[in-house]
């Protein structure tokens, strides 16, 4: 499965400025091409290519059996994917919006997550669930949620959130090759271009973002490894997905020398990277779009406290979505934008 074909090797050097959807599409394309056990399905995924077009062209290229539409039942999609995975396939399923993953939640929590454990490794479920998450598109409460903490809380599930096209592709390939079930939340607000959280600023498409080059061939980004997006000395910002870009903008807005860490994988999180950075800066701000209470920020805060207590010079702060559903009219009052993050950055510098 890891043997590269000649054309893939040749393509390794070729890279192009893809947007995040194209990068995801490319990852699926490559894995469908390399491994006959890979297949992908979900609502509107086949002929239409997905409502966000992530599977565009794949049915045509690989045939009906490898990329197809499903009935509207998230429990059915995830449950059958588990069955296929235990047979030896590597299904990649799309849940149209993360807000619609809940009917499949039992299959993830009670089944995919535990099949290896309860059968003592007799059965395993190597499968990938892709799903767009997050707000910023006026999707109202059922097209905007960030339910990642409901998954990081579940032992046996790997939870991944990319923040740029390169990582989206490399992480998706790693997820497909992983022998554990992986849930990838794709920040839909970043599909077309990076978003710093200023709603009135026009989006620069990924194609025009400097340095955004995605290799056309096979490569991986390892699961469980964070990436330092911006080096700094004064405060560590832990972020993922859309909030990575907001955090970088906030550091500029606040004029604070912040070190921004893009976690990329939430579970298992890259503790080493977090600890090294917080020990260096002595301060920590955690940013996520999800509601605050029992959000993933709480886990991160606990980890930082447990591992960096003596290095901390100020209380850890969280900047998050409010503890309300995502309100349609108040998108930007809800979204934890750069101004709120900047305020927290300044506050920890005083603290």
């Amino acid at each position: 499965m890891n043997a590269m074909t000649k054309t893939e090797e040749a393509k390794l050097d070729a890279a192009s400025p893809m947007n995040m959807i194209q990068a995801i599409n490319s990852a699926l394309d490559i894995m469908l091409g390399r491994d006959p056990n890979v297949l992908t399905f979900g609502e509107d995924v086949g002929y239409f290519g997905g409502v966000f077009r992530a599977t565009e062209g794949l049915q045509k290229k690989y045939g009906l059996n490898r990329c197809f539409d499903t009935p509207i039942t998230e429990g059915g999609i995830i449950g059958t994917a588990i069955g296929m995975a235990t047979y030896g396939l590597r299904p990649v399923v799309e849940i149209q919006f993360a807000d619609y993953i809940y009917p499949g939640y039992d299959q993830i929590v009670s089944e995919a997550a535990r099949i290896r454990y309860r059968s003592a490794g007799d059965f395993t479920a190597p499968m990938t669930i892709r799903t767009p998450y997050g707000g910023g598109i006026f999707g109202g409460q059922t097209h905007s949620q960030s339910p990642e903490a409901l998954f990081t809380h579940v032992a046996g599930v790997v939870t991944v959130i990319p923040s740029n096209p390169y990582d989206a592709k490399g992480l998706l390939i790693s997820a497909i090759e992983s022998d554990d079930p992986v849930v990838i939340f794709e920040p839909k607000r970043l599909y077309n271009g990076p978003f710093e959280g200023y709603p009135d600023k026009p989006v620069t498409p990924w194609q025009k973002v400097e340095g955004n080059l995605v290799p056309e061939g096979y490569y991986t980004v390892p699961l469980g490894k964070a990436r330092t997006v911006r080096e700094g000395q004064d405060v560590t910002v832990l972020a993922y997905g859309t909030m990575v870009h907001v955090a970088v903008a906030a550091a500029t807005e606040a004029g604070v020398d912040a070190e921004v860490i893009d976690l990329r994988t939430l579970a298992p999180v890259d503790l080493e990277a977090i600890v090294a950075s917080v020990r260096k800066t002595g301060r920590c701000v955690i940013v996520h779009e999800a509601t605050r209470t029992s959000g993933f920020g709480a886990e991160l805060s606990a980890l930082v406290q447990e591992h960096c207590f003596y290095a901390l010079e100020a209380p850890i702060l969280r900047v998050t979505g409010w503890d309300t559903p995502y309100p349609h009219a108040f998108e930007w009052e809800y979204f934890p934008g750069p101004t709120r993050v900047a305020r927290a950055l300044k506050q920890v510098m005083v603290g």
Partner: protein, 422 residues
């Protein structure tokens, strides 16, 4: 003595055939010529009308037939003719036309950037309009996003509907919901969810509560063909059957679920109505573009429910004449002329033809009514827009964003509201 047989060897050589996976596909895709000539559509009047107390097992053929009242000439025929007076028919026509005029305006408003999203029910207006006229305001409707006609039939103010779509200062839902997700308890209209299928077991539970209390109210719910795949639908069916809940379970089979044809929902070789059979529920399959047929079927199911005989499943056979929503482009996955050649026609045209056949209506009257309704909608639109649109003008107070999460705001929300500075 019968000859004996040996079980196949547990291991070793097998001489078996390779299996293959079946993936259903629609018959026509963009660029191809749609052709519905092979659809089996019973003649109007051909489907029998059983007594409302008929046992489900004795009326199974109705799950495969189709209740149709209006024939090709607009004449009502057969046992399902509800024999409505002209005033009632005109009310039905007006509701459907107003629904369409409203949809057209709000669709354009979205295109003009006045809101984020909109969904029309073009071609399916009869489904909601007729049902609303059969049910009372005390009954509770648990709709999807495509039954705006229920509210319109009940004279819910168009301005309030628009205020919701614009999330403006006068939005009854205080800007919290995606456009078209209305709610009006006093009109028997349950708050719409964006999560498909959830309303169906809720409708059953509401109906069970009415029975528990010894009341006389019934519930009705609607679900799309595609969404019947959700577990919620099947969970609802089993409760409705076991507890004989006074509820009408409507499936709106408009042939499409975004880009997926009904075959992906398992509706190609079995009818959606036939799903009732395994649950021992009576099923009616109805020409959903025939106002009289929808009316008659709903009346039958309502009478059955009110007689404490329990739930009925109704499949409304119709066609989604336009895109799924403003985010959709159906020309990418189905022939553009499919809607035009849909053999069951358009519900407004068919009811109009019927009224004309009765000598109660004319093309001129139709045109005059159309103009009147467009003007009504235009006036409502102008008024609504004075209260703001999604990105301009007034909004609900930001403070309200923290209200109604719980009955009382706890310290977290109080703190967060302060943090936002309001």
């Amino acid at each position: 003595m019968a000859s004996t047989r040996t079980a196949p060897p547990a291991k070793g050589l097998k001489n078996s055939r390779a299996l293959s996976l079946r993936i259903p596909e629609p018959r026509f895709r963009p660029g191809e010529k749609a052709d519905f000539s092979s659809l089996v559509i019973p003649e109007a009047g051909a489907t029998p009308r059983p007594e409302v107390d008929t046992a489900p097992k004795d009326m199974r053929e109705l799950a495969y037939g189709m209740i149709r009242v209006l024939d090709r000439d607009g004449q009502p025929v057969g046992p399902w003719n509800p024999k409505l007076d002209p005033a009632t028919l005109k009310r039905g026509l007006k509701t459907m036309m107003l629904t369409r005029a409203y949809d057209d305006r709000m669709y354009r408003a979205q295109r003009q950037g006045k809101t984020s999203f909109y969904m029309k029910c073009t071609g399916e207006e009869a489904v909601a309009a007729a049902a609303a006229m059969v049910l009372t305001r005390e009954d509770m409707c648990f709709p999807t996003y495509r039954q705006q006609g229920l509210l319109i039939a009940r004279d819910y103010p168009l301005v309030d509907m628009m205020n919701q779509v614009y999330s403006n200062a006068k939005d009854p839902m205080k800007g919290r919901q995606l456009p078209v997700m209305y709610s009006s308890k006093k009109d028997g209209f349950f708050t719409i969810s964006g999560n498909l299928g959830t309303q169906v077991p809720q409708a059953v539970g509401w109906a069970m509560a009415s029975a528990y209390k010894g009341d006389d109210k019934i519930a009705a719910t609607w679900i799309g063909d595609g969404s019947t795949a959700e577990g919620d639908f099947h969970e609802a069916m089993i409760f409705a059957s076991v507890y004989r809940a006074p509820v009408i379970l409507n499936i709106v089979n408009n042939q499409w679920a975004i880009s997926s044809f009904h075959g992906i929902a398992g509706g190609e070789d079995a009818t959606f109505a036939s799903r009732a059979i395994g649950y021992n529920l009576p099923a009616l399959r109805v020409d959903g573009n025939d106002f009289l047929a929808v009316y008659a079927a709903t009346e039958w199911a309502a009478e059955r429910a009110r007689s404490n005989l329990g739930a009925t499943l109704i499949e409304h056979y119709t066609y989604r004449a336009e895109g799924h929503s403003t985010s959709d482009d159906p020309s990418r996955y189905r022939p553009t002329d499919e809607g035009k050649i849909w053999p069951l026609g358009d519900p407004i045209e068919r009811l109009k033809q019927h009224l004309i056949a009765l000598g109660e209506w004319s093309d001129d009257k139709q045109q005059a009514l159309y103009e009147e309704l467009v003007e009504l909608v235009r006036a409502a639109g102008r008024e609504s827009e004075t209260h703001g649109t999604l990105h301009a003008g007034e909004r609900p107070s930001i403070k309200t964003m923290f209200e109604d999460v719980y009955k009382e705001m706890d310290w977290r929300l109080v703190e967060q509201r302060q943090e936002l500075g309001i």
